[in-house]
Amino acid sequence: MNMNPTRWRAVLALMAALVLTLGVAACGSDDDSTSGSATEGSTEASTEGGDESGGSIVSNPENGKVSLTVGSKNFTEAIILGEIYAQALEAAGYKVKKDLNLGSETVALKNIKQGTVSGYPEYVSTVLTSIFGKEPEEVPADATEAYEEAKAELEKENLTAFPPTPFASANAVGTTTATAEKYGLETVSDLEGVSEKLNLYGSPECRQRIDCLAGLEKLYGLKFKKFTPVDIGLRYTVLEKGQNNLSILFTTDPQLSAESDKFVILEDDKKVFPAGNVIWVTTPKVVEEAGPDYEATITEVQEGMTVEVIQELNARVELEKEPAAKVAAEYLEAAGYTG
């Protein structure tokens, strides 16, 4: 046997040492909780948004006893809003955990009902059409009326909604300028007769939503060559990489103004895509536990959210690829809420 036992033992020991060192080093540097990355990125938020109370949000030590979990849906704008609210609440002295990127409204609601999330930003239009199944024509055109109706409906489900943001966003059918020119498309109704040649791309829940494919089929009477569900993050990729494609976009998308020569949205002449302001959805129990600063902070920090501001924030995250946490902090500071 030409095996040198000492050498073999040394090698084994070295191997074990290497692996253990890596393991310990890795474990040692990760001191966050292990389940999910709920607190990932929040360290950045607390240093940027919370320690200088030179802004209009003042930290109330009473709030430190309350722990809140901020949720959000799974696209850029929702994540930015989640970050803004989370950092604002933190500045107000609450202990805030983040659980962003939950999914669509069904998952977010489930989390609220389970109590794993304290609240999340939702669109009034989505509340009425998607959650409560109303037809688009039943959605009041006036933003305040729509909010009151959504709030009433939510209250029946034992959920609370805070007052809405200034800005509103809506779904829209979009395409490349080339395709629009080719088929002479300006409004969604122009798609009649043409849509059979076009592929429509939307989020997975689009098929079921009345302010998405279901509405296009039912209320516009359109049939598409094919509907392919894709992740919301790919909604512009499918337009860039393909031909004869339509995609469901959002009216507050930064690409629409920054790349206005490439993309265009079709006018929603039958008003199937109602615009929705954002409201904070939460439960009465959390409202009671959190005290008056909860609603006050949220409604205050919203006041600077005009359409232009939201588009600017979206642009920073989607076009410049900045972290949402950083962008949220920049907004809070520029608007005088913090620092």
């Binding site: 669509s104 998952v107 489930k110 009902k113």
Partner: protein, 242 residues
Amino acid sequence: MAESETGMSAIPVASIEGAIEFIFTPQSSNVTGGKKVGGIDQVIELTLNQLWLTVVALAIALAVALPIGLYLGHRHKWESFAISFGTAGRGIPELILIAFFAAAIGVGFRNVVLALAILGIPPILANAFVGINQVDRSSVDAARGMGMSELEILRKVEIPLAIPTLMGGLRSATIAVVATATIAPYGGYETLGDFIINENVYGENGVLAGAILVALLAVTLELTLAGVQRLLTSPGLKLRPA
């Protein structure tokens, strides 16, 4: 079923019964709009999608990898490359590959199938090489002595003897391709993975149903291939462990 904090109707938690119901009957979706989700029709459609994706990807991978692997093995060339290629191939991150193809080329069947074929090539090539390379030299020499052409040697001597290893490569490739076909929805092609990824639409019962279906599909394919391997392996070789 857990009682929710708000005192509302109980929160749905995935259950096996719920999952089975999802598979067979269309359910009303979590999101209103009237269209139902689930049901045996959709299950069959997505299963066939995934199967088709797998078969085409494997066909491409075989067409590319098999000739190269067989050739290199027969000539006993580039051994370390072939073997490390096989190991390296297992390190390709599938999600990133699919996402990259979607971003670079576009979404849809064609692009996803290319990504999957790439994942299938390394195991097939490496195993083809090893299988042929390890065939007993004396058998090959004897065949050469009998006057067989190189191609005949490959066909009649080396390949039959290498069947277990070759099939092993195909089975490895199939596992990798089926697993990645599950996340094909990220590349814009709907497969059973859709149920798992999109809880929004299908609900927690849908997610569990999807996981069960995918697992069943993968295991069924593997058992089928194992059976095929057994059929193809000449009796003298069957003493080897699986």
